[in-house]
Amino acid sequence: MKQLTFDILIVGAGPAGLAAAASASQSGLQIGLVDDNPTAGGQIWRGGIQRSRTQQAADWFERTNRPEITRLHQTRVIASPKTGALLAEKPNETLLLRFEQLILATGARERFLPFPGWTLPGVMGAGGLQALVKGGLPIKGKRVIVAGSGPLLLAVASYLRSKGALIRLIAEQAPLSKLAGFALQLPRNTAHLKQASSLGWNLLGVPYKTGCWITKAEGRDRLETVTIRRGHRSWREQCDYLACAYGLVPNIELASSLGCRLKEGAVEVNEWQQTSLANVYCAGESTGIGGLDKSLLEGQIAGFAAAGLFVKARTCFPAREQAHRFAETLGRSFILQDKLKTLPTAETLICRCEDVRYQDLLLYPNWRSAKLQTRCGMGPCQGRICGSATEFLYGWTQDSIRPPVITARLASLAQEL
């Protein structure tokens, strides 16, 4: 097996990982930057076929263009076979990555809440559809409904519209009363105000309904119609794609499998972005959902701190504090309504990998017994989709993660034995 050795290994090449790499490389140490995607940038800076980049993104890519930084794309970390090493898989080979310090910048995924028809092709995540459009999926002239919760819905709708999509509706589950608080907070943070108003321009004329969600998706072999509910009113609308996600969930699986302490569903860190393990740092969405600014600042602090550049790390503390306050406001504004727990019917599938229905799971008191009896969460995604749904629907918390952290080739694991 091929082995590579780095002073600092960074997992995740989104904004937090890029910022960590750029900052740590100022020390002259050797840095490895690993990501499972074909290119760097994470979800928000996913270049795609057109490679369009904001100035901010271009600047950070430029700062990571250094000889000290080795990039490993299409490389998925699957386990930690021994202290100071991770096992990773590329499409055609297995790697052992050795490190002195590890920075986890594993980002977040979308939260999906099951409803009748959510398994039909054409029903996707909000960021999910955006990612595919960036990857070349034709969206011009397609009728799209964007639904779920969070500021991402606006960003996605705006992006899709700029590519020629016909946005029929943006359905936000949060009631207007909560969002009013969010809007009032905006002027304190100019970067976000600008972002919001420029999005507003792109969405001129698109209906944005609050306290509104999708109750059903129908179609023969793919999505044709959705049913929308707002208060006591319910109506149907035809569409080609439903882009639906209820906020983001931190990707904590790798940190958890290493033994890092978790707090409220995210990785716990101290002021230096250091986890409960002394040589493991964590930055960005995996320490708690907060957006781009928080990710960049935490990434810089983690990178500087892991490289021993503590004075430089400290200069980012005040801005990180501000980003954390913004994140708290976001979290409060988009809290999920309890009514969404009634979305699934008895027959609705909760676990898509193993086809486990809502009613099958009602019999069990917790995640562990449901897994053992129904195979819920034991398919290829390893509970990454249904886990956050069952947490919301049944109040279940997940067990600690055991290796391998993702579905891996048997051959990759066999090399370790």
Partner: protein, 80 residues
């Protein structure tokens, strides 16, 4: 930008260079990537390598994630 030619279920498809396989499937009007264990049609959901719903067979290698794979010239993609 040069185009890339690949086959999807035996049909030749031409896509812009850099297109991911999941998008090429949509270009070819193929919306089902796999069947669930009870035979339901499934397509891409998360678009970022988490859900495994978009898995297809690429060049005889099963379970490849079409959302995280860029099309290459001569690639053979099979859905279920």
């Amino acid at each position: 930008m040069p185009d890339t030619q690949l086959t999807i279920n035996g049909e030749t498809v031409t896509v812009p260079s850099g297109t991911i396989v999941a998008a090429a499937l949509a270009i070819a009007n193929t919306y089902t990537t796999r069947r669930s264990i009870h035979g339901q049609p499934r397509g891409p959901l998360c678009g970022m390598g988490i859900c495994y719903e978009c898995r297809v067979t690429i060049n005889d290698q099963p379970h490849r994630l079409s959302c995280q794979t860029i099309c290459e010239s001569g690639m053979k993609v099979l859905t279920i």
